[in-house]
């Protein structure tokens, strides 16, 4: 593995549903977490004795904990409506990447151990023992689901394969079959405070460098404060924003927005990560503990507002789960949404005329917008219906002159995943990631050809990293992808409020 010689599938002019290619992706398998990694976050180090019984018991426990799982395991009628909705199926043709087939991997085990029909007539209803080969299939194919929820949009019962995937991952973690990339990151966030393992002093250094760079570029004292008590706003952002490109351009964008609007803000070294990989492994307690750092940091710094940077799954956790996991937020200013997305903040400032954007500064760009799954299908914005689609686009349009949406069946709630979400953003899965990006690349190609689009804005760190990696496979420039606040940062007028 390592850096396999991956061929991107050809881009077709219009989407074609592939014919089935059994086991096409059976070789795709992320590294299993080493003992130390698993144990560091409270999971058994390696496959436990009696794993089969323990896994079945865990599945039963989860069924009693989550109504979603319980209903979804029963309700599927095999209608097939979801079969052509997953980007991983469309990109690979592997039938086990059809959402319903992916669910069946768990459902057949559930039937065997928990239902009358499966106990007595396993062949008839497609029930199967949890054998080693079934577990192996779980490990492979639940690590080929980015938990993007596209399938749940189309299922007549709203069955969300992501919920099944999370349950399967939680079962696997509980018997020592954790995935390396995800569990390593969870370990880092607990130990160091962010997914990239960037310690406090290094962070301070990075931020100071950024201050100097922006000063040089603009002549303004745009600040990047860290751990400043008494700031009004705590910004929690994906740690990639601190040094990876194009992410850092968005961080510069946030800083300029705060500067121009005259709002005192700060980052926190304790909560120097918005991402929350606890979500990806479906683990409530991990998700809660990772989120808790944000509450602690907000209290300690005495801020009035918490703003979340450009990160899709982080926004899902913040918007949909924080209130339940780490609320109530009665110590924050209730006049602002809690938590608030940085797009909500910027949109509001633009509307009130508190900041000014000069769209012409982005004239070299022809922009499109990629809706990130977790923002599109698992959150909202602005407190208005479909706000998660409206606000980012409104900001992009305010920041540049030329904007073109991709085809309607590939945006908004129909958006295609970048192919890297859900804990798959690791090198050994590059083949999967390239192929999974196919539907998005086809939609992008159409606007590139028709309108000369040369910039795809998005508000997710995983999307940015994934696209930067896979765009070249499709003969696009990796610099085409960037953040919405990168555009804002380039267009914003500084120095008016001084």
């Amino acid at each position: 593995m390592g850096a396999p010689d991956v061929q991107a599938p050809p881009l077709k002019a219009y989407p074609v549903i592939p014919i089935l290619q059994a086991d096409a992706m059976a070789g795709s398998r992320p590294y299993v977490a080493a003992e130390k990694l698993n144990e560091a976050i409270g999971f058994p180090g390696k496959l436990v004795d009696g794993w089969q019984a323990k896994a079945v018991a865990k599945l039963g426990e989860l069924r009693d904990r989550y109504r979603s799982l319980r209903v979804f395991l029963d309700a599927c009628v095999h209608c097939g409506a979801c079969t052509d909705k997953c980007h991983f199926f469309l990109g690979t043709g592997d039938p086990k990447n059809m959402p319903v087939a992916r669910q069946e991997l768990v459902r057949k085990v559930y039937r065997r151990y928990f239902t009358f029909a499966g106990k007595h007539f396993p062949k008839l209803v497609g029930a199967e023992d949890l054998t080693e080969s079934v577990l192996e299939d779980w490990y492979r194919y639940f690590n080929q689901c980015s938990e993007c929820r596209r399938c749940s949009v189309y299922c007549p019962y709203g069955i969300d394969t992501a919920e099944i995937t999370m349950a399967a991952k939680e079962v696997m973690d509980s018997i020592g079959m954790g995935q390396k990339y995800t569990n390593e990151i969870i370990g880092k966030v607990h130990k160091i405070g962010n997914n990239l393992g960037l310690p406090g002093p290094a962070l301070l250094d990075t931020l100071q460098t950024l201050e100097e760079e922006v000063k040089e570029e603009t002549g303004q004292d745009v600040r990047f404060p860290l751990d400043e008590p008494g700031a009004e706003v705590l910004v929690v952002t994906p740690s990639a924003d601190f040094f990876a490109e194009p992410h850092v351009f968005s961080l510069i964008g946030y800083a300029k927005v705060f500067h121009a609007a005259g709002i005192r803000w700060t980052l926190s070294s304790h909560a120097s990560e918005a991402g929350n990989f606890g979500l990806f492994i479906g683990n409530y307690d991990q998700t809660r503990r990772i989120a808790m750092r944000v509450r602690e940091a907000a209290l300690e710094l005495g801020v009035k507002r918490v703003v979340v940077g450009e990160c899709g799954h982080a926004w899902r956790v913040a918007y949909s789960f924080w209130n339940t996991l780490i609320g109530p937020f009665d110590f924050l200013d209730a006049r602002h949404p809690v938590p608030q997305h940085v797009c909500e903040l910027t949109y509001d400032l633009i509307r009130r005329g508190a900041i000014t954007l000069e769209r012409e500064r982005n004239d070299r760009r022809v922009v499109t917008f990629h809706d990130s799954c977790n923002v599109a299908r698992a959150s909202g914005m602005g407190g208005i219906p479909r706000g998660q689609f409206i606000l980012p686009r409104a900001i992009v349009r305010a920041a540049c002159t030329r904007f073109h949406d991709m085809a309607p069946e590939t945006i908004h709630e129909n958006t295609f995943c970048c192919g890297g979400g859900g804990g798959l953003l690791t090198d050994e899965l590059v083949e999967l990631r390239v192929k999974g990006a196919l539907p998005r690349m086809e939609a992008l190609k159409a606007v590139v050809d028709e309108h000369g689009v040369n910039f795809m804005a998005t508000i997710c760190a995983i999307c940015k990293a994934q696209f930067a990696k896979v765009l070249p496979y499709y003969k696009f420039d990796m610099g085409m992808v960037g953040g919405v606040h990168q555009l804002v940062g380039d267009a914003i007028v500084l120095g008016r409020n001084d």
Binding site: L20, F72, M98, K123, P156, Y157, D160, T324, L325
Partner: protein, 243 residues
Amino acid sequence: MSALTLVYAGLFYAATAVFVVGLAAKIAGYARTPAPLRIPTTPAPRTRAGVVGRMAREVLLFESLFRANKWIWLFGWLFHVALALVLVRHLRYFTEPVWPVVAIAQPFGIYAGFALLAGLAGLWARRLLVERIRYISTWSDHLMLALLILIAVSGLMMKYVAHTDIVAVKAFVLGLMRFDLQPLPADGPLLVHLFLVAGLMAIFPASKLLHAPGVFFSPTRNQADDSRERRTVAPWAAGLEKK
């Protein structure tokens, strides 16, 4: 009382018991299980009233399925609407005097019988012909379609091929409901029809037919987009907070 009547009476009491108890247990299970986190598939309505609307569109019009696949929607919706009409038509066997709505629905019920068959045939054709759907089909999926088709065919036969004494059938049904058994006519299609219906009722709580109650409990469809306003800590999760 003939042995046949007794057997069928017993069959229906047993099937009804399995249906009611089994379904109640399943529904209780869904209702009791907490939904610890807000997971509506967004964009989702922001109010309860909005959720009722979304659910109504889902249940009455199959909104999501329509967006997903027009063929499956066409056949599936045709089948379900026809089934609903046929069931309404059948209420005449259970009501005395027959309710006015049921009386009005009678002629439609007959056409619905054919529409129902057409829908089922379409669904089965897709299951057999579309590679992706064939791949995910189990034996039970095919048998379920066969069962429904046989029920429909045996039912239509009583109308068009071998007339059954429906007055006697109604007496039998009302007798069952009043625990005052009346003789059941010994007609082939009728016996097949009733036997299969009893079978369908009995397997309902142990089969994919659970999609019917399930859809109402689906968190991605029945939750409002109100997570920033409401906390939803599940009892088991509250335990974690104390740690």
